[in-house]
Subunit: 342 residues, 4 copies
Amino acid sequence: MQAALVGVTGYAGMVLYQLLKDHPNIKKINIYDHKLTEPTTLESVAPVFKYEDAEVDPYDPTQIMADNDVVFFATSAGVTSKLSRPYLENHFPVIDLSGDMRLNTESSYEKWYHKPAAPEKYLRQAQYGLAEFESVKDQTYVANPGCYATATLLGLAPLIQNQLVDVKSVIVDAKSGTSGAGKKLSATTHFTETNDNLQVYKPNQHQHIPEIVQELHKWDKAVSSIQFMTTLIPVTRGIMSTIYAHVNDGVTEAQLSQAYHNTYDQKPFVHFTETDLPTIKQVVGTNNCDIGLAYNPDTKVVMIDSVIDNMLKGAAGQAVQNFNQMFDYEQTAGLKLKQMLV
Amino acid sequence: MQAALVGVTGYAGMVLYQLLKDHPNIKKINIYDHKLTEPTTLESVAPVFKYEDAEVDPYDPTQIMADNDVVFFATSAGVTSKLSRPYLENHFPVIDLSGDMRLNTESSYEKWYHKPAAPEKYLRQAQYGLAEFESVKDQTYVANPGCYATATLLGLAPLIQNQLVDVKSVIVDAKSGTSGAGKKLSATTHFTETNDNLQVYKPNQHQHIPEIVQELHKWDKAVSSIQFMTTLIPVTRGIMSTIYAHVNDGVTEAQLSQAYHNTYDQKPFVHFTETDLPTIKQVVGTNNCDIGLAYNPDTKVVMIDSVIDNMLKGAAGQAVQNFNQMFDYEQTAGLKLKQMLV
Amino acid sequence: MQAALVGVTGYAGMVLYQLLKDHPNIKKINIYDHKLTEPTTLESVAPVFKYEDAEVDPYDPTQIMADNDVVFFATSAGVTSKLSRPYLENHFPVIDLSGDMRLNTESSYEKWYHKPAAPEKYLRQAQYGLAEFESVKDQTYVANPGCYATATLLGLAPLIQNQLVDVKSVIVDAKSGTSGAGKKLSATTHFTETNDNLQVYKPNQHQHIPEIVQELHKWDKAVSSIQFMTTLIPVTRGIMSTIYAHVNDGVTEAQLSQAYHNTYDQKPFVHFTETDLPTIKQVVGTNNCDIGLAYNPDTKVVMIDSVIDNMLKGAAGQAVQNFNQMFDYEQTAGLKLKQMLV
Amino acid sequence: MQAALVGVTGYAGMVLYQLLKDHPNIKKINIYDHKLTEPTTLESVAPVFKYEDAEVDPYDPTQIMADNDVVFFATSAGVTSKLSRPYLENHFPVIDLSGDMRLNTESSYEKWYHKPAAPEKYLRQAQYGLAEFESVKDQTYVANPGCYATATLLGLAPLIQNQLVDVKSVIVDAKSGTSGAGKKLSATTHFTETNDNLQVYKPNQHQHIPEIVQELHKWDKAVSSIQFMTTLIPVTRGIMSTIYAHVNDGVTEAQLSQAYHNTYDQKPFVHFTETDLPTIKQVVGTNNCDIGLAYNPDTKVVMIDSVIDNMLKGAAGQAVQNFNQMFDYEQTAGLKLKQMLV
């Protein structure tokens, strides 16, 4: 098995390269960059890989399909859907980490991304790859979920799928480290502004909102919107999605807890920690999503604390998980990662 | 005017000492420590004040009342209510930064603080000092509000007082820097554990919950509980209280905004920044509470972002504000502080 | 007294504006911006001042000299020397926070700043304003020292002036927070790169090296170079300059200590803390330079730990100190600042 | 091969457990705790391992030697030398991460550690395991080096071994993240005190000084002391040892560079990056030591920037490296770790 990686200069692409290199079922990774016209060394485009002896080639879809069995895109939104069209036409296996193919309609993409959408026939060809819930075994194009969406959907799934809460009452207060914003410089992520600070950003406008709603809607047709807010925290890696919902009449705390156990006890990457509320640090370095719960009998509100490493479960890790599903490899192949204990 | 300060070794006491020293209406500050048996230097009990030439005396309430016009308590919960009894009996002016006298009933105090309460006759003698709403002009005992309570109540007041939202739908997701936890060492605030991390703590058990409910109940009798959750952030100073509520039918975004203007435009320390959402950093170093708003027409949820410096507006600053009210000084006396711009 | 401030959008200019506003001897501050063609509000050029009711005017030197008694430049290197020429010609009082006029020769400026220098007659007209050592009482143009230079020179002065150490053995390992690099975005100060990291930068090339050497040379003609290295730390404010030198034969630890006492005991802003080594935090928020000492009898090396707040003693604070000297005001006027205790 | 691990509750022990678990030549790890009297679960003594299904047994040296082929000690100084005596007597293989057996003389240990030393016959039996320089192939007791000592010695080795610098001129300014101080709570590592701060600590008294001197002395008999200072930085993981020395007359920059290449080009874990100065972050998560150099022709001083991950190359990683040497496994077995890229 040879895998193509398009885009290795962004944070997600760099982390994905690390994972693919150690994957037991990948013999060779071929790296491509659509901005190159001549082959060059990996170090020259991504200096962080100064000890890697690898080459990066210009982007040529015909050659890529000839030389590889699958292609991973770690290119940005707006770019990816243009690059990936030949694979869609040829039904060649693609794992796409960008947001370009996650939404089902052109209008939704254009509303939230403020860019031209891919044609709807291609959008419909792509499968949203929330790995614990959407099997991509027989798919050829996987739209890997956004980091916020992953933490939020995994946190909400047992509540919504089992109709344990009032869907209109759901409130998501999500917090992310700065690596989610990528390498692009901005005043918001300038150290002097970010350190010792909290900044609420993109209120009601985050582009992960529509993919959350689209997926929730599959689970409960009553969901048509979600209250979802994002805060930037002075942390490099990690997302905490804090979710609140009013519990339906008659639902007990034990039933809430049981729903999480039923949903996740057989899933290798999702841990339900009950009332032991997880911290961001306990998942950094892993592909895990840890989920804890606190029920308030006074307000009948359940709080769900769902944490992931945005670079792994929120990006490159889930991409490998989807790859494993697509090719029927062991679920945890290439993903037996060490938690950053200290 | 001479002011007594009891407790100068904790963070709030140290910051309060700085403020009182610069207060234009205080001629002399006399410092006391209930653990001392002999007078000593300020530096010996609080090494941070190495350039201050001040003395600390043993605690003697009779002497304190003889030598001072007011006493500030910056001692901890459980201790303060024992120390402050003589002043209550003598109707001598007290500003109490602890939580000991904030709640009106013994049972509530004992439920949330897990310590013996002061007798109810004393609890009723104390006035909860949310400075923008509770005049303490003719009071002798002010229970200065908790830091979380201050940010949350100031954020909620216009919504609740004007019945703009469904009180049962209110969700508060509050975040605090570590200085709120004080000087006491704990695993939670050990740098190696706190840095690069978020930790949800005391779920549904934070001792500021009952004072929030008690005050909200004054504004709207329908409030009997609140969904309030606290997260520790890797920041030294600052609180952000993020508040969500479902807006009542027929209420417009303009009405929400107008309510904040009406409530706060004449208040020197509270700034309503409309949809320009405030960050923690913009209030650090000041006695301000900055409040922004984001209304979501899809979900009919309003999000309120209320930020304070927990050491100032959340503790020592509001104490001085209450002191100014009690003695009818200019509201901003001693509180014209510089924002930590950088 | 009316003071002109040219440049209020950078960090140093913003902090300087705060200080000047509270200065007891300044009646009015007039703000100018050389990029403006029409007057505008302060908030529009520096949004951080959203509660200030102040105007910013286009830059017009004739008008500035007509309306003001002194002008402060907080504009960048390369720009300032062009703007400040009319004042030099008219011997109008200037406090210049940039590096443009600190060096005495054109060749040195061009070597270290990589920009065209001001003509040497102007360079010689400017007085380097290391406030504890260079009186600017009868000067009209003060070149306010660089932040690193201030911490380092104050740390070294007693050793060099009293010939206590081998000047060739001096090593300075200086560390700075990110605010020293200003508002300009760069990969080095991108939160994701800066957090959890240390970065040595500009090795042997920092532009503060020549002003350090120039000043040391005044104190001891034997000094013609200095080993000075800079490391960026994940901190917003503060510089620690760690200085090492081999003590001359026969010099005792007591003599070292005495030299610091003799030099600084009468200086209000410099504190010699003996072997109680200062931390960055103990000076943040103040115009202080705290200096501690550790002598190693095994190696005969003395280590000096000199800390300042780079925004205050390292920039705006020392500018006010120089202003006080120039106009013969009380040394601490406008500089009685509160330490950021917590 | 079965390996015993004594001490899994400290940071180094936890990280070592992770490494040993993935080591290709270890079939089983048996964990022991000298404070236990009954077997218990790993999670109960180290809650961070909540998903590990492992047991911890009471400490019994006879049983340990019967059941294992090697024992790793990750217990603290003062404790380890008492626990490890039976293995010394039996010449049973030990890798000791503590400082107890690193120094050759009782007097030196007692001077720097302020505790009773192990008898000198045992001290002499232990081999100091600076893995790049001291082969432990035929040793049974390895004293794994301290974190600061590792970064400093690897940085200094080419200079000292090749007599390129004046040994008396060497100055080491070392900086460490807080994890080096372990789990023990202290005011110095309380988040509120550590964040936004730099703290010089243990001036001229750090217990790693004597092991640095002892090893340097092996390389150059002229070395009898070292100027070494430590600063605590607001970072969790990582050490930067910044080393300065006056270059001997006639030595060129090219010779300095060549010495590093000669020494390290064949060593898998040490990278000489020439004038591209390494940052802490580039080694976090790995067993690497990255070393860069900046030569100053004006001062004839060479600056060496040597960085390691204190938990890995500075503790558990080097322990595994020594284990590999002791049992003649591949040098990088169990140590092909992923850099924390983001």
